[in-house]
């Protein structure tokens, strides 16, 4: 078994534990201690989950993007496993961010959905991730599958800056960047739980990435073992 997989198995628990702890503290501060917003009222508390989920979605795609470049350079199947795992998690986090954002939009914008540049570019990101997973399902040969998927992930990476800066480039209903060179537009009462939740969700993503990478690696390992057994039996 790969020593990287053994390393992941050994240390993943710490990431999960730290992520869970940060999220528990962040949820307590966000849901109980932080004040309601002057305009939005209590519903602003959705921010403490929605924003970390959305940031983690971008983080997941960035992981997929970097892993894909790395795979094309090194051709290491384990890096391909990490990219594949990041895409699966990216679908989950992007969907969760869209759902929580939609629920937040209803009481604040009075609509579940609007054709806003941030929302549309984020949905495109979800479609790219789904497309990535579908492409992998349709190609049987592992090396070819990994190569084509990596190319798609790199091309799809063009959406990442569009998602990030859509609120700056176009007039949108979505709020602009809260942390930018112009400063931070949160009060410290809101910033602290948001930061703790962001760290917690990122650590949880790292933990999930480690577990999912192992899952994909072990599946391949099992298939390889079975194949080897079968070939030896046929001999």
């Amino acid at each position: 078994m790969s020593r990287y997989i053994l390393w992941l198995r050994k240390y993943q628990g710490w990431f999960g534990l730290a992520g869970g702890l940060c999220m528990t503290i962040g949820l307590y501060l966000g849901l109980v201690k932080s004040p309601p917003d002057y305009y939005q009222g209590e519903v602003v508390r959705i921010m403490y989950l929605h924003v970390p989920l959305a940031q983690t979605s971008l983080f997941a795609y960035a992981t997929l993007f970097i892993s894909s470049i790395w795979y094309l350079w090194k051709r290491d199947p384990l890096i391909d496993n990490a990219a594949h795992a990041a895409a699966g998690l990216g679908v989950f986090f992007t969907s969760a961010a869209l759902v929580t954002g939609s629920i937040w939009a209803k009481p604040t914008w009075n609509t579940w959905w609007t054709w806003d540049p941030r929302l549309v570019s984020f949905t495109v990101l979800l479609l790219i991730l789904i497309g990535y997973l579908m492409l992998r399902m349709f190609i049987d040969e592992p090396e070819r599958q990994a190569r084509f998927a990596a190319i798609l992930a790199i091309v799809g990476g063009v959406d990442l800056p569009i998602v990030k800066f859509s609120v700056e480039w176009w007039r949108t209903l979505h709020q602009p960047l809260s942390v930018s060179p112009r400063g931070i537009s949160y009060s410290s009462d809101m910033l602290t739980p948001l930061l703790i939740m962001a760290i917690g969700v990122s650590l949880l993503f790292a933990y999930m990435l480690m577990v999912r990478t192992q899952l994909l690696y072990l599946r391949q390992l099992l298939e390889a073992k079975k194949g080897r057994l079968l070939s030896r039996v046929q001999l």
Binding site: L31, V32, V99
Partner: protein, 183 residues
Amino acid sequence: MRGLYLRWAGIIGIALVIAWLAAQHYDRAVKTITPGQLLQTRPVGTVRVIGLVQAGSLRVTPQEETTTPPHTPAMILADFELADQQERLPVHYDGPADDNLRELKTLVVVGHLTPDGPDGPAGRRFEAHEFDLLPNYGFITAAYLLALIPMGLFLFGMERRVALLYTVIKETTTYQPERDAVE
């Protein structure tokens, strides 16, 4: 596998404790009742009542000028009726001026119900000292549950499959001597 199930039982236990604490906090600090529920149950202590300020019922009296720090809202006395679909509740408010206090506006008032007056329950009124924001906790609960429950299930599913795969791979290795025997 046993360790995995034990760990997840612990996580579910912690989640249930947090949910119970959140429900307690909701009852204590967020839950609102209507004027009809207030007059039926007559709770003792501070409660939060939600209702519509009846048209033509609002009378506001500014309190006498006192030396207050700058940027502090002026103190007012106000009398109005707060209504739901069945009942009308007379409210006396003594506190800072608020932009939300206007007729035909849905408000949450924080205060307590006075004891029965000389005319019996008819003499009761609600003494409010604070206005609060309209509760929209349904959206918050929905957002958190729709994100966190699938996240938990997704993670549990992955961990379970990884644990199963480790077991299967270990067993596969155990049978290697048979493979050699076939050769």
